[in-house]
Amino acid sequence: MIAYKFLSSGSTGLFSRFAWPTPAADAPGQWVRVDGEIKPCLNGIHACTRAQLVEWLDDELWEIELDGPVLEADGELIAPAGRLIRGIENWNDESARAFVSDCVESTVALAAESLVQAGRQVEAEAITAFRSRPDGELNVLQLAGTLDDAKASPVQFLADVVRLERGGRPELDEEAPATDAGGPTPAALAANIGFVCAHIAAQLAEQESAGAYDESFARERLRQSTWLVEKLQLER
C-alpha cells in the first residue's frame, strides 16, 4: 500500500531520529522493518493517508510503500515494514508558507464575520485589512492589547497568529530566532498555524454554540487538507 510520511530535515524521524534510507534515482529506498508485535504509537512503521497529512506536517514529505498488514488507528497508519518511494518536491518552504497564508486568510474571514455579527465594526475592519494595510499587523496587535482577556476575542486570536507566524509566542514581543539559529522551520510553523487556525475556528464556533468545537475543528482541518492535496497534486 502506498501512503505518505513526513520526516524532519535530514530524512530523520522527528521522535525516533532514525535516519531513513532514501531512494536513489532508479530505486526506492531500502526496506525498513520492525520486529515484534505492531502496536500503534509503540512499535511499527508509521505513515499517513492524504486526509491525515495536515496533522503531521514536517520538513520533508515522502511517498512510502508499506508492507504487511497495515493497521489504521487514530489518524495514523502502522505497518511492520516500509520503504520510501519518492520525495514530494512540491512540499517545500514555499508551499509551507503558502499553506500558512491560506490558513490565516480563512481565519481572518471567520473572525471578521463573527465580529460583524456581534456588531463590532471597528474590530472587523481592523482584521479584514490587516494584511493589506501597511500598519495592519501593528494595528491588530495594538487593538488586541486593549481588549479584556476574560473572553477570547477574534482580534486577540489574530494578534496571536501574527506573533506565531513570525516564530514567536502569543503575548510575547520578543522576535523569534531564524531557522538555522534554532527557530522553527517553515514546515514546523505550518504545522503550528494549521492547528492554531483550526483551534480558533473551533473556539469561535464554541462561543456561538456550546458543543460546536469538535465539528468546527474537523471542518477546518478538512478544508486545509483539501487545499494541501490540491496544491501538492497528490494522486494517491
Binding site: 482577556d149 476574560a150 473572553k151 477570547a152 486577540q156 486570536f157 496571536d160 516564530g167 514567536g168 509566542r169 502569543p170 503575548e171 510575547l172 520578543e174 523569534a176 530566532p177 531557522t179 538555522d180 539559529a181 534554532g182 527557530g183 522553527p184 473556539q203
Partner: protein, 217 residues
C-alpha cells in the same frame, strides 16, 4: 554512552571478566590496577553525587574497594563485575550519606524545585486562549554550532547545577545519564522503585536543561 551490558560486548567482556576475576582473587596487582583505572573515575563521580565533600567521596570509593576485595571470593558472578562493584558503591555511599550533612534519604522524594520549576514558563491554566501553553520560545539546540555546549560557561553551569541538585536526584542522573546504567540497574543500586527513579531523573534533567538554557542565552 554504551554500557558493557550490550549483548555483543557482554560475551567478550564476560570472558575477559572471568580471567580478570581469577587474577584478582589470586592477588595479581596489575589486574587490580587495571580494574581500578577502569572503574575508579566513574566511581568517584558517582560517589560525588552522594557526598558534597570530595574528601568524603574519596573515602566512599576507598571503602568500596575494601569491601570489594573482601567480597571477591563470595562473588557469584550473577551480574557483571561492574554492576557488582557499583552496587557496593551504592551501599557504601548511602550508608555514609546518612551520617553526613548532605544526607537525604534516597527513597524519599525531595520536593524542593519540583513543582515550582518554570513558574513563569507557562500561561495559567485559566487563560482564555492558551491555557498551560509555553509563554516562551524554546530554540532548538540541534541547530546550534557543535561547540556551543562545550564552552567553559556551559560546562560550568552543568557542573554547578549537578552539584546543587538534591543528593537523590544527583545520584540518579549521574548513574543514568553520565555513567549509562540502565533504569533497572539504578533502581536496584539505589533501592528505589521505577516510579520514584523516573521522578528523580525527570527533575534532575529539567534542572540541568534550565541551567544550560540560562548559560546559552
Amino acid at each position: 554512552m554504551s554500557s558493557p551490558e550490550t549483548s555483543h560486548a557482554r560475551g567478550a567482556s564476560r570472558l575477559d571478566e572471568r580471567e580478570l576475576l581469577e587474577r584478582l582473587r589470586a592477588g595479581d596487582e596489575a589486574a587490580f590496577r587495571q580494574v581500578l583505572t577502569e572503574f575508579g573515575p566513574a566511581m568517584l563521580r558517582v560517589a560525588g553525587a552522594f557526598a558534597a565533600d570530595s574528601q568524603v567521596a574519596a573515602e566512599i570509593v576507598q571503602e568500596t574497594w575494601i569491601a570489594v576485595l573482601h567480597g571477591l571470593e563470595a562473588f557469584e558472578e550473577r551480574s557483571s563485575l561492574r554492576t557488582w562493584v557499583f552496587t557496593i558503591l551504592g551501599n557504601c555511599a548511602r550508608r555514609r550519606a546518612k551520617t553526613e550533612a548532605r544526607s537525604t534519604p534516597i527513597s524519599s522524594l525531595n520536593t524542593s524545585g519540583g513543582d515550582e520549576r518554570e513558574p513563569n514558563g507557562f500561561f495559567d491554566a485559566n487563560h482564555s486562549r492558551w491555557a498551560s501553553c509555553w509563554t516562551t520560545i524554546n530554540t532548538r539546540w540541534d541547530a546550534l554550532p557543535e561547540d556551543s555546549l562545550t564552552t567553559r560557561e556551559a560546562e560550568n553551569s552543568i557542573i554547578e547545577s549537578l552539584r546543587s541538585l538534591p543528593a537523590n536526584q544527583s545520584a540518579v542522573i549521574t548513574l543514568r545519564d553520565l555513567e549509562g546504567f540502565s533504569s533497572d540497574q539504578v533502581c536496584s543500586l539505589l533501592g528505589v522503585s521505577p516510579g520514584n527513579q523516573r521522578v528523580l531523573l525527570h527533575r534532575a534533567r529539567l534542572a540541568i536543561r534550565q541551567a544550560l538554557e540560562e548559560a546559552l542565552d
